[in-house]
Symmetry: C2
Subunit: 209 residues, 2 copies
């Protein structure tokens, strides 16, 4: 559609800007409440000693997530989308103008909680990372395929709840590989901290290369 | 917008049809994996001895949810929306043609897992019921207000997980009342069965009056 065409032009501009400044731009997508903000709250303290961290927070309403990020010490801006179900590349152009990210930095974009619409909107990111909570069920990759097809990383979060939920980890990974074989899968608990150090190391490695 | 105008005309037609046949039409909305299908799997056996039950299953992809409903013995059809992020009233017109619901029956519409887009699309339902899992966090009503504003019922599901998640039940109910004071709130575990009998009784009471 015409909207997607326009978006792709803005996305290309963002992608060029990030490449020009060697900014690792990570688009974090997931259902509402899968743990995107909680993961950032755990990751940023591990990263900010070694690299400048910026965050673009997308939500329909409130500045709650941006306030949570502020407390970590990262530079953050909040975008409220109102009734719109996703961030788009044009919003990111404005975010870049406000944040003025330095070279060799990391920019997290926490998208609106939505497993459907953000799949269609390229923001110009370097990585797209889909976060899936083990509480959602192993069939989500099959039922919401576009989001998983268009991601390079998948974080399976809330692994501390595995003893209490009927989640089949092996089946989930089979489904993920079926939808996108090259997907890199990580397991985390943003509550307990499992897997977060490894995730930080992976990010730092990319920034430094 | 023009799309919403057209949708409202189709929604009015559905609403009139349901009134004409005294069909209790319940639009179930939630994030992906909050437990809509699991709740239906528990509810339908309790309802179908006393009332005819129909289900419209909406998903981007697969017939998995419709197959789960089939095993309960209810009449069900699956609608695949592809890249579209919500069911709309026109799709429900077609579903009604296929299902031919009898008078004095219950029709569940399980919407696409999405806390954003379905809020804007009236399907002609009698009740809109938003399901929120305690794993998603108590701030969801504030951050996704349109969905909670437009609902009459809110089901807080997965209460069996309360010992293991940082969910503040009282705070959640405060936020819900703040967004929509008239919201009727229920607590359930679709896994263990808590609250399901009460929910079935509430539905039967409405059908029989
Ligand atoms: N048990 C458990 N709870 C978690 C974990 N990570 C996050 N949570 C909880 O899940 C809820 C939602 O976490 P958020 O970080 O707000 O999730 P989100 O994806 O940012 O939510 P939105 O921005 O609204 O889409 C909160 O109550 C968190 O404390 C985890 O690893 N384990
Ligand atoms: N612990 C616990 N798990 C539950 C409960 N209800 C559902 N689940 C699990 O949550 C996962 C998702 O349940 P579904 O019924 O598929 O959720 P849904 O809302 O229909 O998902 P979509 O149709 O994809 O949006 C499954 O693994 C269920 O077994 C509950 O009350 N407690
Ligand atoms: Mg968040
Ligand atoms: Mg379902």
């Amino acid at each position: 559609k015409d909207i997607l065409q326009k978006n792709n032009v803005f996305a290309a501009q963002n992608r060029g800007f990030f490449m020009g400044r060697n900014v690792l731009a990570i688009n974090m997508v997931s259902s509402p409440g899968s743990g995107k903000t909680a993961l950032l709250e755990k990751l940023i303290p591990l990263l900010k000693e070694q690299v400048k961290v910026y965050v673009v927070e997308g939500d329909q309403s409130t500045t709650r997530d941006a306030e949570r990020i502020e407390r970590t010490g990262a530079s953050v801006i909040q975008i409220n989308t109102g009734k719109t179900c996703h961030l788009d590349a044009h919003m990111i152009i404005h975010a870049i103008e406000k944040l003025q990210p330095e070279s060799n930095s990391v920019l997290f974009i926490e998208n609106v909680g939505n497993l459907v619409c953000p799949a269609l909107f390229d923001l110009g990111e370097t990585w797209r990372m889909v976060i899936m909570s083990v509480t959602e069920g192993e069939d989500k990759p099959l039922k919401y395929p576009y989001m998983f097809e268009s991601s390079q990383y998948c974080v399976l979060n809330k692994i501390d709840l595995l003893p209490y939920v009927p989640f089949d980890m092996e089946q989930a990974k089979d489904y993920l590989k079926k939808i996108r074989p090259e997907l890199q899968i990580m397991e985390t608990s943003a509550l307990k901290g499992d897997g977060v150090t490894e995730m930080a190391e992976m990010i730092l490695q990319k920034v430094n290369n």
